[in-house]
Subunit: 230 residues, 2 copies
């Protein structure tokens, strides 16, 4: 994990029996560190996004969403999915393309780490200038879209949306208040984009993926006491 | 609702379209107010606990718990359920008695409002001295067990357990940290009793009912920033 990962993420991973190796985002490559660790130990690498099995596994979120919408008799106009390397949104888009082909799927990113949005507009993979952009959405700062994930996303996504940290904190407060769920900033950007009306104006039914609840207590406390509109 | 109900509970109920009538716990009877309102408007009363349909509805929690434990291949030694008027625990005990007869079901209350625990020990319904006991568990301060619910609980429960507000705050922090769920103090007393080891020593598998997430942001913030053991 990067050394600036939320303390709660590091602590909870250790509590579950995991060995956590920290690295510096700005000066070290996690891919190189993982390759060296793998060579030394013979461990199996589970890549975070750029692998067909990972995309397929994350796509079960889209599958469940499509099935739940169908059970409710709802036709989804749009689905908003948090995006870093792009695996979750690529998997969701694959499932929704098959089961709900009229649904527009959007990748949602922090405004300061919008490599997927810019890449989708440019038609090829672009890289964020900073390896450690200033955002509370620590889980969404991969610098460049994955090769496989971008190939899928370029074909299936309607586009990329962006939100600010304040948008994410307001979404955390709404998830606390109405859904009784704990979301981390990066996990709440889909809901944040919906609440900030970052979708085309004729959109009526919106599905949102809330993903990840590793948020440090102080940031969560700030979100729920200050972030919630009356 | 009592005038000291969490502001978030009042606000969210109004946001969902409900009309909220406030009363004073110490000087007014909600039963009398509800009866007068009913007579004036012809409204249907949905009692909070002392009615067979309410007990049956709340018992679906026990039904799901028994089915999930069976699906996991787990034999539950004990199930800990928050208790105020006793409807939720009576329903859960009814379901578990049928589906998992070796499971001991306990009512869990705040130590300062332990009418069900004392009533179970005495063998008849006892009343708390205070109508507004000093506890953060605002949802668990009914003064006397229900007639129907106590008749069921007397027959089916293994006993009553109690926890402090600090136990409840620690449980809120654990639910935040590991389950990513928002629980209110009264809703977390079952988990609190488990974490504080308030069960017989030979108990191995414990089911807990987390019920209710209407907690004011400041109290939740205090729980997650201070309440969590390292």
């Amino acid at each position: 994990m990067p050394s600036d990962a939320p303390k709660i993420k590091i602590d909870v991973t250790r509590a579950l029996g995991g060995e956590v190796i920290l690295y510096e985002r700005k000066t070290q490559s996690r891919e190189a560190l993982a390759a060296a660790f793998q060579q030394k130990t013979g461990a199996t690498l589970v890549p975070p996004f750029d692998h067909p099995w990972i995309v397929a596994g994350q796509g079960t979120v889209g599958l469940e969403l499509a099935e739940q919408a169908r059970a409710l008799g709802v036709e989804l106009d749009a689905v908003l999915v948090p995006c870093s390397g792009g695996g979750l949104v690529a998997g969701c888009a694959t499932a929704l393309h098959a089961l709900s082909p009229n649904t527009k799927v959007y990748a949602v990113e922090p405004a300061v780490a919008d490599d997927t949005r810019r890449s989708l507009e440019a038609g090829h993979r672009l890289t964020n200038t900073s390896a450690a952009p200033p955002t509370l959405c620590d889980a969404l700062v991969v610098q460049t879209p994955g090769k496989l994930t971008f190939a899928i996303n370029q074909r299936l996504l309607a586009g990329g949306l962006t939100v600010t940290d304040d948008d994410a904190l307001a979404a955390i407060a709404i998830a606390f208040r109405y859904f009784k769920l704990v979301a981390e900033p990066g996990g709440a950007v889909g809901l944040a984009a919906a609440l900030a009306r970052k979708f085309p104006s004729q959109t009526r039914s919106i599905g949102v993926v809330l993903s990840g609840g590793n948020v440090d207590p102080a940031i969560f406390a700030r979100a729920v006491t200050e972030g919630c509109p009356p």
